[in-house]
C-alpha cells in the first residue's frame, strides 16, 4: 500500500518562499508621522498631534493624504467593481446578497435584467416572481452600482455578462488579494472561465461562450460538465488557493502561470502542501522574471 509521509506545514511555510518586506508596514497604534500638514485618510487616527495607524497594513500616500491599506479586511466596495455574491434573502423589491463586506449588499429588482435580457418597468407580477429568478443560496455575479453612505453596496446586473452562476466552483480568498484590473472576466486558455470578484470571491466554471451563453444566467443548463473540464476547474481551484495561501496577488497572469507550473503534478497531488509550495515558488519566480 502506498504511504504518503509529509513534513509538517509549519516548517514548510517558514522555509523556501521568499517574501519581500513591504515598505511601510504598520500595526495598530504605530505612529505614522508627527507632521501635521497631512490629511488623515482611512485606517488612521489623530492623537496628541500625531498620526497613528488604526489597522495593520501598508501606509499609502497620495499627495498629502495618508491612509493605511489594511492587510486583512472585509471587502470595501467601490463603484464599478465586479463582485460575486450569494443571495441570502429575498425582500421587498430587492435581494440581499452576501458579498463579503460588512453589511449585506442590495440588488434591487429595478436593476436586474429580466430573463432573456428584456428591459422594461417591473410590475407587481415581477415582484411576485422574484423568487423564481433568484432564490436564497443562488450565486450571482454583479457590478457595484452605488455605495450608500453607511457602506452598503447597491448592485446591478444590467448586462448579460452578469447574472446567476451555475455549474462551477467558488473559491473564497481575502479581498485584498484581488488585483484591480480593467476586466475581471477571463476565459483562460486552459479551458475554463474565471470571474475574479473584487470582493475576494472567485468563480471558476467551464469556458463561457461570449455570444451564445450570455443569457444573464436565467437559462438553466444542467448538462453534466465533462471530466476534462472538471479536472481543469479543480486544478485551478487548488492553484488559486495555493497562491492565496502564500498571499500572492491574484490576476489572470499569476493564475495562468500557477496553472502551467502545476501541470507537472496530478490534480490530487496538488493538495499536498509541499507540492503546492513548489508550484507557488515557481510561479513567483516566473512572475518576477516576467517583470
Amino acid at each position: 500500500m502506498e504511504v504518503d509521509i509529509r513534513i509538517t506545514k509549519d516548517i514548510l511555510s517558514k522555509s523556501e518562499i521568499f517574501h519581500k518586506q513591504p515598505e511601510r508596514l504598520v500595526t495598530p497604534g504605530d505612529v505614522i508621522t508627527t507632521d501635521t500638514g497631512f490629511m488623515r485618510g482611512h485606517g488612521t487616527y489623530m492623537e496628541d498631534d500625531k498620526l497613528h495607524a488604526s489597522v495593520a497594513g501598508i501606509v499609502e500616500r497620495v499627495n498629502k493624504l495618508i491612509c493605511v491599506q489594511p492587510l486583512k479586511t472585509r471587502y470595501n466596495g467601490e463603484v464599478g467593481d465586479v463582485v460575486v455574491g450569494r443571495i441570502t434573502e429575498v425582500g421587498q423589491r430587492r435581494w440581499k446578497v452576501d458579498t463579503n463586506s460588512r453589511l449585506d449588499s442590495a440588488l434591487l429588482l429595478s436593476s436586474v435584467n429580466l430573463p432573456g435580457g428584456e428591459l422594461r418597468r417591473k410590475t407587481t407580477e415581477d415582484e411576485l416572481m422574484m423568487r423564481q429568478y433568484l432564490s436564497e443560496g443562488d450565486l450571482i455575479s454583479a457590478e457595484v452600482q452605488a455605495v450608500y453612505h453607511d457602506g452598503t453596496l447597491s448592485l446591478h446586473t444590467r448586462s448579460l455578462k452578469y447574472g446567476k452562476l451555475m455549474q462551477g466552483t467558488l473559491v473564497r480568498v481575502s479581498s485584498s488579494l484581488i488585483k484591480r484590473r480593467k476586466t475581471h472576466f477571463h476565459n483562460l486558455p486552459c479551458g475554463a472561465g474565471v470571474i475574479l470578484g473584487n470582493n475576494g470571491y472567485i468563480w471558476i466554471s467551464s469556458t463561457v461562450n461570449e455570444e451564445m451563453d450570455n443569457t444573464g444566467g436565467f437559462v438553466q443548463d444542467l448538462n453534466p460538465v465533462s471530466l476534462a473540464d472538471r479536472e481543469v476547474i479543480a486544478r485551478l481551484r487548488t492553484c488559486i488557493q495555493g497562491l492565496a495561501g502564500e498571499r500572492m496577488m491574484l490576476y489572470d497572469t499569476s493564475i495562468l502561470y500557477a496553472y502551467e507550473a502545476s501541470l507537472l503534478h496530478t490534480v490530487k497531488d496538488l493538495l499536498k502542501p509541499e507540492v503546492m509550495a513548489e508550484v507557488v515558488s515557481f510561479t513567483s519566480q516566473q512572475l518576477e522574471s516576467a517583470l
Binding site: M39, V62, N63, K64, V79, K161
Partner: protein, 788 residues
C-alpha cells in the same frame, strides 16, 4: 431627419418621424415705425399668416420712416435719428403700448437682449398703468402671500419693492439677474394674465407654457458673448413662437421695432423665414466622463464616442468603408508579385524613395523660407533645378514672385536647339512621373545636364519643389532685361530677332559654368551656410544625406526593366495604401475625439488618477464624486488646502468654481482668503501646464481665468451670517446671479463632502456639512413656489 437616423442607428431600431408644419395659431409679423402717440398706427404687416412676404407693407414702412426723417431733419437740422436715445426710446414704447392697448392685443412679451435694457425700459414707463383696480388687488394679495415667506429684511430688498411697484401697474421684468423667487412670482402672475407687459431676455423664450398675445422685438441684433450679430432663424422662431395663445387668440402678432433704420429685406427674409440652423453635436469629452466610464467594466469610451451624434456622419459611412475594404482586399489578393532576379529589394527601394522624397520636400520648404535663404535667392543666383526630362541642370534665377501662398521662380535655362518638341513632352509624361513627379533618374543623376550642339535657352516659371540645390555662384545680369527680351521674342513678329546682348551674355556664362562643373557646383549647405541651429532639423538633414547615399546601394537599380517594375510596384503600393486608409477609418483611431481622449488620459495618468492599466485609483474615485471642475477640486482636497480653514472660508473659495459672470467689481478679501485664492491659482496653473504638456489646446491662462473670484467676499459674508440686503451692496453683481451662484455652490459643497467621506477624512466632511448649513438660509434657499 438626420437626428432620427442617428437615434435609429445607435439604438438599432426603426424610427418614425412625425412632423407638423402647421401652427394652430398662425403668426403675423409686423414692422413698427411709430415713435409718438401721433404716429402710433404706423404698424406694417410684412409676413402674413400664410408665411408670404408682403413687399407692399415693407415699402410702406420705409416710406413712413423716410417721411418722418425728412420732417425731423428740417425741423432740427441734420440731427438724424439716433438709436438708444432714452427719451425717444420711451416714446417708441409708449406709442406701441398705446396702439396695442387700443387693439386689445395685450399681454405682450418684449424681448430685449440685455439685462440692463430690460430694467431701463421698465423703469422708464412710469406713466403707464395697465391694470384695473380689481386686478391690482389680486396682484397685491398674491404678491404679499409669496413674499411673506421671506425673512424681515429680505422683504425690503430694493428689487422686491421695485418689482412690486411694476407689477401693480401690469409691468414686469424677467431675466437671470432677478431673484429666483421673484421670477417665479412673475411667471405665475403672467400665467394668470395679469402681467400685461413683460420685458424679458431670451431665457424666457425657453419656457414651455408662457405664451402672450403679442411678441415685440426690441431689435433683431444681439450680443452673443463675442460680438453683435443678427438673430438666427432658430432663435427668432423660438421667441416669436411665444405669440398667440392657443384657444384664446386667432393669430399671434409679432412686432419688430424700428428705432433706427429699417432692416434690409434680405435680412428680414433670412431671419423670419429662414431655415433653422443645423443640429450640431455638443458632445464634449470630460475628465469625469472618462473616469466614470473607465471604472465600469462593460462600456468602452471608444464606443461611447462612436455613438455620439458628433461621430454620426463618420459612422454613417461605415458600411460603405467596409465594402470598400472588401474590394481592396480582393485587389491586394490579385496583385502580381514582381518576379525579377534583381528586383528582390524593389519594395524596400520604393519605400525608401518615398520617404526620401517626403523628407526632402519637408526640408525644402523649411530652407526656402529661411531668412538667410530668402536673402540669397535673388536674381543672378545660379541654381540647380529640374525641368522636363532634365533632372539636374543649371538655371539662372531671374525673378521670385509669390502669388498667394505659393512662391514662383523664373529661371533662364539652357536647352537644345530642337529639343522642346511635343514628342519629347509625351515621353516625359509617360515615365517621368513615377513618384510624385520624381522619376527614377532623379535618384541616380549625378551629372549636370549639358545641351549638345547649338544651345538655345528658355525662360520658364518653376515651383519651389523643382529646386534641387542652391549653389554659391552668381552671375551678374540685369534680370528684367532678360525677361523682357525673352517675352518680346515670344511674340511671333519678333521671333527671328537675335537675343539681346544681356541675354546672350547670361546664356554664355551659364553654359560655361555648366561645362566646367559637370559634377556639380559647390552648394549652399543648410547647416554651415545658413546657420540653422535647430538640432532636429540638422539631424533630419544629415539623415537625408545618408538616405541619398544609401539609395544607390539597392540591387534593383541594376535591373534593366527597372522603370517598368517600379511603375507596377507603385500601382500595387497605391492599392495597399488605400486599404490602410480605409482600415484606419474603420478603427477607433479615426474618431475625431481620439487624439483628445489620448491626451486627457495622459493628464489623468500624470496626476495619478489612473494607473498604467487605466485602472481608476483613489484620486480618480474622488474626482468621480465631483460634478464640475473635478480635476482642480480633487487636487485641492489632496493638497490639504481646506483642512486648516473655517467652513465659511471654504465655501467662499469654492464659489470661484461656480461663479461665471465676466464683469464684476473687485472684492476686498481677508488675508486668509487671499492666501486661499493664491493656492487655488497655483493649483490651476499646475493643471493648466500639465494639460498643455499633454497636448491639449487650452492655454494655461484661459484655464486659470476660468475661475472667477468675484463673489468670494460675498459668499464669505453670506456664510458668516450677513443678511442678504447688506450683501447686495458689496458687489455690483445682480441679485439673481448671487442667489444662483450660492445655490450651485451648495451642490459643490455636497460633492466635496462626499469626496471627503470617500477619502476617510471625517473633519473635512463635517466642515463641508457645516458650510452647507451656513449658506442654506433665507431668500437664497427659499422653496420654489411651484412645488408648494
Amino acid at each position: 431627419m438626420e437626428f432620427a437616423d442617428w437615434v435609429g442607428r445607435t439604438k438599432g431600431k426603426k424610427i418614425y418621424v412625425i412632423s407638423t408644419l402647421k401652427r394652430p395659431v398662425p403668426l403675423e409679423h409686423f414692422i413698427y415705425t411709430g415713435n409718438s402717440t401721433k404716429s402710433s398706427d404706423e404698424n406694417f404687416l410684412i409676413v402674413g399668416a400664410e408665411k408670404q412676404f408682403i413687399n407692399a407693407g415693407y415699402s410702406k414702412a420705409v416710406e413712413a420712416k423716410k417721411a418722418r426723417a425728412t420732417k425731423s431733419s428740417t425741423a432740427f437740422g441734420a440731427k438724424g435719428i439716433r438709436q438708444g436715445d432714452p427719451r425717444q426710446n420711451k416714446g417708441v414704447w409708449l406709442s406701441i403700448i398705446h396702439m396695442l392697448r387700443k387693439k386689445s392685443q395685450l399681454p405682450v412679451v418684449a424681448f430685449t437682449f440685455s439685462k440692463r435694457k430690460c430694467d431701463e425700459n421698465a423703469s422708464q414707463l412710469t406713466s403707464i398703468d395697465l391694470l384695473t383696480a380689481a386686478e391690482k388687488s389680486e396682484v397685491h394679495i398674491f404678491f404679499q402671500k409669496c413674499v411673506s415667506r421671506l425673512k424681515g429684511s429680505d422683504k425690503k430688498l430694493p428689487q422686491v419693492v421695485h418689482m412690486q411697484e411694476l407689477l401693480k401697474r401690469g409691468i414686469a421684468v424677467h431675466h437671470s439677474g432677478i431673484l429666483p423667487i421673484l421670477k417665479e412670482v412673475i411667471e405665475m402672475i403672467f400665467q394668470k394674465g395679469l402681467v400685461k407687459l413683460l420685458f424679458a431676455t431670451e431665457t424666457f423664450a425657453m419656457g414651455v407654457n408662457m405664451p402672450a398675445r403679442t411678441v415685440v422685438f426690441d431689435s433683431l441684433r444681439k450680443h452673443d458673448g463675442i460680438n453683435f450679430r443678427d438673430l438666427l432663424p432658430g432663435e427668432y422662431i423660438q421667441m416669436a413662437g411665444r405669440a398667440g395663445r392657443r384657444g384664446l387668440d386667432t393669430t399671434g402678432t409679432v412686432i419688430i421695432l424700428c428705432k433706427g433704420d429699417i432692416p434690409e429685406t434680405s435680412d428680414l427674409h433670412r431671419i423670419i423665414l429662414g431655415k433653422p440652423t443645423k443640429l450640431e453635436s455638443q458632445f464634449r469629452l470630460t475628465y469625469s466622463m472618462i473616469l466614470n466610464l473607465l471604472r465600469v467594466e462593460q462600456l468602452r469610451i471608444e464606443d461611447m464616442m462612436k455613438r455620439s451624434f458628433f461621430e454620426f456622419n463618420n459612422q454613417k459611412n461605415v458600411p460603405q468603408y467596409k465594402s470598400e475594404l472588401k474590394q481592396l482586399k480582393i485587389k491586394v489578393g490579385a496583385m502580381k508579385p514582381i518576379e525579377c532576379q534583381y528586383c528582390s529589394d524593389l519594395e524596400n527601394f520604393y519605400v525608401h524613395c518615398k520617404e526620401y522624397v517626403e523628407i526632402r520636400n519637408y526640408l525644402q520648404d523649411l530652407f526656402l523660407s529661411h531668412p538667410q535663404m530668402v536673402k540669397s535667392l535673388i536674381p543672378g543666383r545660379v541654381i540647380v533645378v529640374k525641368h522636363d526630362r532634365q533632372q539636374q541642370q543649371l538655371g539662372l534665377l531671374l525673378k521670385v514672385s509669390s502669388g498667394g501662398n505659393v512662391k514662383k521662380f523664373t529661371f533662364l535655362l539652357l536647352t537644345q536647339n530642337d529639343s522642346p518638341s511635343c514628342d519629347d513632352k509625351r515621353t516625359s509624361e509617360e515615365d517621368a512621373h513615377v513618384m510624385d513627379g520624381f522619376s527614377i533618374e532623379f535618384f541616380m543623376a549625378t551629372e549636370l545636364y549639358l545641351p549638345e550642339g547649338a544651345s538655345d535657352h528658355v525662360v520658364v516659371e518653376l515651383k519651389p519643389e523643382d529646386i534641387i540645390a542652391v549653389t554659391t555662384k552668381t552671375i551678374k545680369t540685369v534680370a528684367e532685361k532678360v525677361i523682357d527680351d525673352y517675352k518680346k521674342r515670344q511674340i511671333p513678329r519678333f521671333k527671328d530677332d537675335p537675343p539681346s546682348q544681356t541675354t546672350s551674355i547670361a546664356t554664355q556664362e551659364l553654359l560655361r559654368l555648366t561645362e566646367s562643373n559637370l559634377h556639380g557646383l559647390p552648394v549652399l549647405d543648410p547647416v554651415n551656410d545658413l546657420g540653422i541651429k535647430d538640432m532636429s532639423v540638422v539631424e533630419q538633414f544629415l539623415d537625408l544625406k545618408r538616405r541619398r547615399d544609401s539609395l544607390s546601394e539597392f540591387r534593383c537599380l541594376l535591373c534593366p526593366q527597372i522603370v517598368e517594375h517600379l511603375n507596377q510596384m507603385k500601382a500595387n503600393m497605391k492599392v495597399k495604401e488605400a486599404m490602410q486608409k480605409v482600415n484606419f477609418l474603420l478603427s477607433d483611431k479615426s474618431l475625431q475625439f481620439g487624439p483628445e481622449y489620448g491626451q486627457r488620459i495622459e493628464v489623468l495618468r500624470d496626476l495619478r488618477y489612473i494607473d498604467g492599466n487605466n485602472t481608476v485609483q483613489l484620486k480618480g474615485r474622488v474626482a468621480c464624486e465631483i460634478s464640475t471642475n473635478e480635476l482642480i477640486i480633487t487636487e485641492l482636497i489632496f493638497e490639504n488646502v481646506f483642512s486648516e480653514m473655517q467652513p465659511s472660508e471654504i465655501a467662499a473659495l469654492l464659489s470661484c468654481m461656480v461663479f461665471q459672470e465676466k464683469r464684476c467689481s473687485q472684492p476686498s478679501l481677508l488675508p486668509s482668503l487671499e492666501k486661499g485664492v493664491e493656492q487655488i491659482k497655483a493649483v490651476a496653473e499646475k493643471i493648466g501646464k500639465l494639460q498643455k504638456e499633454c497636448g491639449l489646446t487650452e492655454p494655461v491662462e484661459d484655464y486659470i481665468e476660468g475661475f472667477r473670484f468675484g463673489l468670494v467676499e460675498v459668499t464669505h459674508k453670506w456664510a458668516s451670517g450677513m443678511p442678504f440686503s447688506e450683501i447686495t451692496s458689496l458687489t455690483d453683481v445682480s441679485e439673481g446671479i448671487i442667489v444662483r451662484t450660492i445655490q450651485r455652490l451648495n451642490e459643490t459643497l455636497r460633492d466635496v463632502r462626499n469626496a471627503a467621506r470617500l477619502v476617510g477624512e471625517p473633519v473635512l466632511c463635517q466642515k463641508m456639512e457645516d458650510a452647507s448649513t451656513l449658506i442654506k438660509r433665507d431668500i437664497v434657499f427659499a422653496a420654489s413656489l411651484y412645488t408648494q
